[in-house]
Amino acid sequence: MSRFRVRGKGRVDAAKPMIFTFDGTPYTALKGDTVASALLAHGVHLMGRSFKYHRPRGAIAAGSEEPNALIGTRRGDGRFEPNTRATVQEVWGGLQTTSQNKFPSLRFDVGAVNDAAYMLFSAGFYYKTFMWPKSFWDRVYEPFIRAAAGLGVAPTEEDPDSYASRYLHCDLLIVGAGPAGIAAALAASATGRSVVLVDENAEIGGTLLSEPDAQIDGTPAWDWLAQSRADLLAAGVKIMPRTTAIGYYHQNMIGMVQKLTDHLTELPADTPRERLWRVRAKQVVLAQGALEKPLVFHGNDRPGVMLAGAAQTYLNRYGVKVGDSPAVVTSHDSAWFAAFDLADAGARVQVIIDTRAQVRADLQEAARARSIPVRLGHTVTATAGRLRVKNLRVNAVSGGHVGAGTWINCDALLMSGGWTPSLHLFSHTKGRLAWDDALTTFLPEHTPEACVIAGAARGLWGVQAALNDGAARAREALDALGATVQAAVYAVAKDRTGTGVSLHELPTDRSASKAKAFVDFQNDVTAKDLRLAVREGMRSIEHVKRYTTNGMATDQGKMSNINGLNIAADALGKPQPQVGLTTFRPPYTPTSFGAFCGYHRGDHFEVLRRTQIDPWAEENGAVFEPVGQWRRARYFPQGNEDMDAAVRRECAATRAGIGMFDASTLGKIEVVGPDAVEFMNRMYTNPWTKLAPGRCRYGLLLGDDGFIRDDGVIGRLDADRFHVTTTTGGAARVMNMMEDYLQTEWPDLEVWLTSTTEQWSTIALNGPNVVKLLAPLVEGVALNEADFPHMSCVECTVAGMPARLFRVSFTGEVGFEINVAAPLGRQLWETLWAAGQPHGITAYGTETMHVLRAEKGYIIVGQDTDGTVTPYDAGMGWAVAKSKPDFVGMRGLARPDLKAANRRHLVGLLTEDHSLLEEGAQIVFDPDQPIPMTMRGHVTSAYATGTTGRPIALGLVEGGHEKLGETVYIPMPDRTIAAKITSSVFFDPDNTRLKI
C-alpha cells in the first residue's frame, strides 16, 4: 500500500488497485481515486509549474476549482488533452499523465529563472516595454512571450472519440448534489414531477463525502446518502453524476455536459465520450455549495500548501493523508476539523495557527485532547521549501503589531480563509448580488429566471442548515409548479458548523511590496500586483482583473476572485460592494470542444443535401461541387476529359440535340390563397394580375433597398396558386423573407406559403430535339406553339407520372422543366435517358448550365449581381412593373443614387486577344494610371468553352449600357488585357431557337 494511504478511510476500493503513470513513472491507485489523490497517496505533491514564474506547484484543492495541478492526460493514439485537472480526473488502469509548462523536467525547470526576476514581471509589465526597437516586437519579443505563455500543448491528432447531444425537458432541475441538492430532490420526489439532479462529481454527496461522521436523523451520513440515493432512484428522479451544468441561458435553458468514458479503463463500444444536454427546466434549484478561500501570504503557493477542506476531502473521501506532519493556518473554524481528522488518522499536526485571538473553547479543547499546539492571534509570514513546503514562519500579532517570526517545520500546510458561496450559474442569469456584511460575502438577491438558491450557495454553513434549506427552497420551487409538499426538517448530530473572519491578506512584518503572496495561483498574480494595478489607476475591478489577469486562469477565478476583490477594495479604500465582482462567464468549468460539436463533425458537420438523381450522377462519374448545403453535379467527364473538354462537349450536345440537367435543387415555394396574386404583386417587381393560369413569368425579387436579391420562373397554376422557384442558394432566404413580410407587414392577406423544394424532383430538358423525346411521353397537353407556347405551365403526366410541366429555357434552346414527386425523380430521369438515346441525349452539369446561360446573357444572382445591382443595372428594367402601387424595393429604387447615371451596368466583354478573363478581375478605363487605380467595374462571369467559338465574359461596368463597342482594360499582375464592351447576349439574340 502506498505510504500515505490510510487504511479503512475513504470511499476508494482497496480491492481494485490500478496502475497509471505520471511523467513516465508508474504509480498505483485505487478505484475511486483521482490522479491527485493517488499521487498524494505516494507523497507526490509537485504536480505542475505556474504560468509566468514557473514556480513548482501542487494541488491546492480537491475539486474542479483547482488552479495548479493541471496535467496532460492520454489514452493511446489521438486521445490526449492538455490542462486536465488532476483533482478531477479519475484514475483508470493505464492512464498516462504528464506535467506541463516545464523544461527540461518538472523538478528542474529553466523557466524558473523568471521567478528570480519576478520584480520585473510585475502586473502589466508587457504594456510598458518591448517597444524598442520596433522591429523586435514581431521577431523577438512576441515569439518569446508566446513561447513562455500557454500551459500544456495542444493535441496534434484527430480525435477518435464521438460526442452526443440531447434535449431534456423537466419540471425541476437541481444543480449540485450535496446535502442541499439531495434534500431538494427528496422533497420533490414524491410529487410526481419530473426531477433531475446533477453533480459534476463522480458520485453524489458533495460535502457529505468528506463528512462521514455526521449523523442525519440518527443515521451515519454515508448510510443516509446511500439510502437517499436509492429512494430517489426508486421515485424516478434522474440522477446524473459527472455532469456539469456549464451555463444558464434565457428562459431556464441550462446547458450541461456529461462525461461518459473518461473514467473507464475499457472503452465501451459505441459510447460517446461526452454528451451535451440542452435542458429546459420549469424551475431550477441551484445548490452549488461554497468554495474555500485560500489565505494570502508570502509563500502560500508551495507544493504541500493546500486548502484545509481539500486535505479533509483527501483523507475522508480518498483515504489519503496529505502529510505526516501538517500545520494549519486559518481564520475560520472549519480548518480545525481538518486538523482533528488528520490527527485522528495518525498525522502529527504541528500547529494550528489561527489569526483570531478568540476561538471557540470546544475547538481548543479538542486540539488539546489531541496534543496539537495552538497559536491564536498569529499570522504566517513565509514558507520555505523548493519543491515541497518544509517549514513556515509564524509571528504573533497584537494590536496591529506583528512580532518576531519563528520557524516551524511541517510537510504540509493547510489553510482556510473561510468560504465563498458558489454563484456562477446564478451570475449567468444576470442575477443581482447583495453584499452581506455579517458574512463578508456576496449573496444572491434577485434573478430574472425561475430559479431558487439553496444551501451553502447562499451562505448557510453546516449539513443541517443545508439539508433544511434544500427542502425549504425546493418547496418554493414546487409551489411555483403547483405541487404542495411538507418541508422535511432534518436533525444532524456531529454537524461541524463554524464561523470565521475574512482576512484580505495575512499581516506580515516584512515588505509587502516584495512578498510573493499569491492570489491567482495559476497566473501568478500576487497581492502586490493588485495593489500596483490600483496605484496605476485601475479602479474598476474589471480593470484590475484585466491588468493583472487575476481571475482569468482556467479556474475562472474560483480561487482568486474574492481575495482579489478584497485586496483591490483595500487598496482603493472602498467597501467591496462599491468595487463589485467581475462577471462570471460560462462555461462553469472548461468544456471539451467536442461536446459542443456533438454530432456535427465530419460528414455530419452540416447535412449534405442530395437530390434523388444524385446517385445516378455519381454512378455516371459526375464531378460534384458544393452549392450551399447541396452538392450538385458540375460536369460528367467521359474517358480522360478534363472539365473544359467535358463542358465543351456537353454544351455542343445540348445545342445540337438534347441536354438533360438535374434542376431539383432550385428552391420551390407554393404560394396559395385568395390573395396570392396580391401577395406576388407586392413581393416581386413584376406584374402578376394579368398572368393567366397556365402561364409563367420570370420573377425578380428585390430587397427593400432596391437591389436584386433573387430570381426565378414562377408559374401560375390557378387563379389562387403560384409555383414559385428561387435560386438554389436563396430558397430558405426567400421563404423567410416572404414569411416575414406576410406575418409582420401584411397579416391581412389570406395567403399560405409552403416550402416545396424537397417535394419535387425537377429535370430540365433543353435542345432542338426535346419535343421529339418528350411529346410521346406527355399526356394532357400537346407540345406545340399553339397549345403550349414558351413560358407555359400545366399539370399533366410525363411517362405516366403526375407532373408539373413548365416550358422555360435557361439555355436559349427549346426547354422544359418537368417536376414530379421527389421520389419519382430518378425513375423519370432514367426513362428520359433511355428514351433520349436515339436523339443524342447528354447529361450536363452546373458548369455547362452556367456557360449556356451566359451565352444568352441570363444572370446568376449572387454571381453577376452582388447586392448592389438594380434591375436597371442588370438590363432588366423590363421586369419592373411600371404601374403597380408598391412592391418590395420600390421605394429603395427611387433613391437618387439608384437612378444616377454612370452606375455599373451588366454588359458583355470580349477580349481582343481572345484570352479568357478571370472572374473577379477589375476593370479600368485608363490602363496607364498609377496605383491606386480608379476601378470602373469587374468581371462577373467568364467562360472559355462555349459554343460561340471564343471566350466570353459578363461584367459590371460603369455606364456600360452607353459604352457598347468601347474598349476597357483589365490589369492583371503580369499584363493588361483589353476587352470590348458588347451586348450581354452572345448567342441567338433574336431567340429564334426558342420556337418549336
Binding site: R79, E81, S122, F125, Y126, Y127, K128, T129, F130, M131, W132, W137, E142, R146, A149, G150, V153, A154, P155, E157, E158, G247, H250, H428, K430, S511, K514, R535, E536, G537, E542, H543, Y547, T549, T554, Q556, P587, P590, F593, H600, R601, D603, F605, E606, E625, P626, V627, Q863, G867, R895, D897, L898, E918, G920, A921, Q922, V924, I931, M935, H938
Partner: protein, 417 residues
C-alpha cells in the same frame, strides 16, 4: 505621466514598483467642455487623443456609463485587416492599419500589434470568385492581399485540414500578411492614458441619459447620471447603444443591435501562427499571446441588448472550427461572452456630422470595428474639429442611406470580424 520603457520598468522594479503613477486620474465632470465624447471605447478615447494631439483641443470629456474599454473594445477578438472590397473601405481600413503599425510608439503603450497575417479560406466556387475579386481590387488599390492555393494555405497555417473529403473542403485562400491582431485592453488604456496626459477628462460610471439641444436645434450638452454638462460639441461613439443615445437628440439611425459572441480555449503553447477566417463554415480563430485560442463567428439571430447570447450559436461555431481544425476537438472552452454590436444595412460604418448642429456620430461598426479604431478615431477627430469630414471618411455619411450611395461590404461580411 511616467514614460514607459524597459529602463523605467527596471528602475521601478528596484524601488518595489511604488513610484508608478496613475495612467488616468479619476475626475469629476466640469460644468462645460468644448467637446464631450459619449462612450469611452477605443473609438471615443482615440478621438479624444487625436483631438488633443493633432487639433489642439484639450477641453474634452469622454464619458462612459461603465468602465472605460468595457464595451466591445474589451470584448472583441481583435482581428485587424484592411483587405476590404470597396475603395472607400479599403482606404479607411488601410489608414487604420497604417496607424496600427506605430501605435505602440505613438501612445508609449505596447498595444502588441502582431503582424500575424489573416487568411480567409475559400470552400466553394462562389468563395473563390469573391475572394479573387477582393484580391484584384486590393492589388489595384495598393492594399496587401494575395491568393494562396490550398497547399500554400496549409504551409502558412499547419493545423489546417485541407482534406478533400471534408464537408467543405478548402479550395484556397486570400492572405493579407500585414493584417493581424492587437491587445484590445491596451488600446483603450493607451489612448486613455495619452488623452488624460493631454488634459482630457475621462469620466467613468456616468451614463449619458440624453443629449440636450438649444432652441435653435443645435447641441447644448448632455444630461448624465451626474447632472447636466454643457458642451459646444457632442460626439457619440457608443457602439451597440448609439441609436439609443442619438434618439434623445431626435436623430434616428439605421442601426440594429445584435449580440455577438466569442470564446477562448484554455491556454496552450504556440500552435496557431495566424488568423484564419471562413465564411462558408462561419467561424474564425487565432491564438492570443497568452496561448488561448480565440474564436468567434456571426451574430446571434435576434436583435437584443442583453449581453448573454445563446448556446446554439456557440455549438455551431465550435463545430465549424473543429471542422477545419479537427485536432482541436479535445481542447476545452474556457470562457465565452457576448457584446452588443450595431449593424447598418450596408455593413459599413457611419463617421459623420448629423442633422443636429454640433452633434457628431461614429457608429455602425457592427462586428468589425476594432480593426478600424485608430483610423476611425483619427478621422472622427478631424470631423469634430473641422466640422467637416476628412476625405477618408467623407463617403461614410449618414446621408448615404437616404441617397442610396451605399458601401456594401455585406456580401463580403458573412462572418463577423
Amino acid at each position: 505621466m511616467t514614460h514607459f520603457s524597459a529602463l523605467s520598468l527596471v528602475k521601478n522594479a528596484l524601488s518595489g514598483h511604488k513610484n508608478w503613477t496613475e495612467q488616468w486620474p479619476e475626475v469629476e465632470p466640469k460644468a462645460e467642455y468644448d467637446v464631450i465624447i459619449v462612450g469611452a471605447g477605443g473609438h471615443g478615447l482615440g478621438a479624444a487623443h487625436y483631438l488633443a494631439k493633432e487639433h489642439g483641443i484639450t477641453n474634452i470629456a469622454v464619458i462612459d456609463k461603465g468602465w472605460l474599454g468595457g464595451g466591445n473594445t474589451g470584448r472583441n477578438t481583435t482581428i485587424i485587416r484592411s483587405n476590404y472590397l470597396y475603395d472607400e473601405s479599403a482606404r479607411l481600413y488601410d489608414h487604420a492599419v497604417d496607424l496600427w503599425q506605430d501605435l505602440s510608439q505613438d501612445l508609449n503603450y505596447n498595444v502588441m500589434y502582431s503582424n500575424r497575417g489573416v487568411l480567409m479560406l475559400a470552400h466553394n466556387v462562389h468563395d473563390v470568385q469573391s475572394f479573387k475579386r477582393h484580391v484584384h481590387a486590393n492589388r489595384l488599390n495598393g492594399v496587401d492581399n494575395r491568393w494562396l492555393t490550398k497547399e500554400e494555405c496549409k504551409d502558412y497555417c499547419p493545423p489546417l485540414s485541407i482534406s478533400p473529403d471534408a464537408r467543405y473542403p478548402v479550395l484556397g485562400g486570400a492572405l493579407q500578411k500585414r493584417a493581424g491582431t492587437a491587445r484590445h485592453d491596451a488600446v483603450a488604456w493607451g489612448y486613455a492614458r495619452s488623452a488624460a496626459a493631454r488634459g482630457v477628462d475621462i469620466i467613468q460610471n456616468c451614463a449619458v441619459t440624453a443629449i440636450r439641444r438649444h432652441p435653435d436645434g443645435s447641441v447644448a450638452g448632455v444630461e448624465t447620471a451626474k447632472g447636466f454638462i454643457k458642451a459646444k460639441k457632442v460626439a457619440v461613439s457608443a457602439a451597440g447603444h448609439t441609436s439609443v443615445v442619438m434618439q434623445t437628440a431626435d436623430v434616428r439611425l439605421p442601426l440594429e443591435s445584435y449580440p455577438l459572441q466569442a470564446l477562448v480555449s484554455e491556454p496552450v503553447k504556440p500552435v496557431f501562427p495566424c488568423v484564419v477566417m471562413s465564411n462558408a463554415v462561419h467561424a474564425y480563430i487565432s491564438q492570443s499571446d497568452k496561448g488561448e485560442l480565440v474564436i468567434g463567428s456571426g451574430t446571434d439571430q435576434y436583435t437584443s441588448y442583453s449581453q448573454r447570447g445563446g448556446l446554439p450559436l456557440i455549438e455551431h461555431t465550435v463545430a465549424a472550427i473543429c471542422e477545419i481544425f479537427p485536432m482541436f476537438n479535445r481542447m476545452r472552452m474556457l470562457r465565452k461572452w457576448g457584446g452588443i454590436v450595431d449593424v447598418t444595412p450596408d455593413r459599413s460604418a457611419i463617421i459623420s456630422k448629423t442633422p443636429v448642429e454640433g452633434l457628431y456620430v461614429n457608429c455602425g461598426w457592427g462586428t468589425g470595428g476594432f480593426k478600424a479604431t485608430p483610423g476611425a478615431a483619427h478621422t472622427f477627430a478631424w470631423t469634430i474639429a473641422k466640422n467637416a469630414p476628412h476625405p477618408i471618411n467623407a463617403p461614410f455619411t449618414l446621408e448615404r442611406f437616404r441617397t442610396g450611395r451605399l458601401i456594401d461590404e455585406a456580401a463580403a461580411a458573412a462572418v463577423a470580424h
